[in-house]
Symmetry: C2
Subunit: 245 residues, 2 copies
Amino acid sequence: MNFPSNIFNSHSKKDGDFFLSISKVLGFKPKDVSIYRRAFLHRSVNLKDKKGNPMNYERLEFLGDAMLGTIISRHLYNEVPGGDEGYLTKMRSKIVSRKHLNELGKDLDLIRFVETKIPKSHFGDNIHGNVFEALIGAIYLDRGYKYCEKFIRERVIEPYVDIEQLEGKVISYKSLLIEWCQKQKKEFKYEVYEDDGKDLLKHFGVRLFINGKQVSKARATSKKKAEEKASKRAFFALQHKIEKS
Amino acid sequence: MNFPSNIFNSHSKKDGDFFLSISKVLGFKPKDVSIYRRAFLHRSVNLKDKKGNPMNYERLEFLGDAMLGTIISRHLYNEVPGGDEGYLTKMRSKIVSRKHLNELGKDLDLIRFVETKIPKSHFGDNIHGNVFEALIGAIYLDRGYKYCEKFIRERVIEPYVDIEQLEGKVISYKSLLIEWCQKQKKEFKYEVYEDDGKDLLKHFGVRLFINGKQVSKARATSKKKAEEKASKRAFFALQHKIEKS
């Protein structure tokens, strides 16, 4: 990358912090950290490289958008062998929807890395999704396809992609579970605890009790998500009972 | 892949032919040739796998389309460091246009592999582009990202992607060259010869002479393409002279 060498040299403490923080988000160490810097440069900063080309995250966003689409396509291809081209296209567009990408970026609190001349409070929601895509573009340039796949698997597919839910077959496992408990006259309780794990993001923990017995627990970046996750786990653990009822 | 084991077993001669022919198109040997078979199965054949899922090229086309977009994006990112997101998007859509993909499929004569219940003469032009994309999807499943990149580089980018031409800056190197020759009062001659190379596709060779001296030669799958390629080579060889004129 053609970063003007004088931009970041004077901020070596700040550089070290960025390297550590971004490594935590990525789950691996960057080879060329300057590429990741670029993924968070807003056009308002108005930087140019040695050749006079504008430097901001928009080109990386273009690249990351394409790579994300490819890896989600591959995932859907494998997971839904009966889905035709139209179905796969529809499901992919749900997963990579603007709204969903903004959530992903927010959950990782990527906005803290953004360098901008405009106050961050002035940005709309899309900044979160844009830099999330730019980050994928940066991974692609820095470490190639395999690392993108790993990152997208860990940060998008595993925590968020539930095909049943996307298909609209299951809106909420929590409501399914509550309905079942009420029908069966079972008491249920969601117990929230603050999670003091070593994650970079604050997590919430939820334990789900049915008739006083813990049936599942889960952690997530919001209380609502943790409840949903715990419900889903309980749902699958109890599935044979639920289906018979 | 869940291919019903009885479909192709009875055609071992035909299978061997397919393996050889598709290896030539690919430039490498398939690991699992059944995936490539699927890339040419038209829905009219109405095949299903063991689990009852329809087998045709449409799902692979979905996958190949995404991968092609990603690799072209990466190419443009590298080649045009000054292009913004809008420019990159526009250029990519020119390269992966329906018309262009159909040409690529036709040049490789992919339709010879298509298995269909409908007479091939009834297909429109899009069949060529569709199976070209499906073929990329098959490479992705069979050999992964690296082989897709290699295939797209050899079969799409090197022979066909000329950024100057796509930008509309240069419509035709042949006309540029002829114009220059006429202005400079130089004689030019395109000499076509039939190429007897070992390529799987028939190629045409063209030698370009200016004032009786050969300045370039080129091979391509049509006379027109070979002339354009030879003109382009001559153009760059003579560029310093042309620019001064």
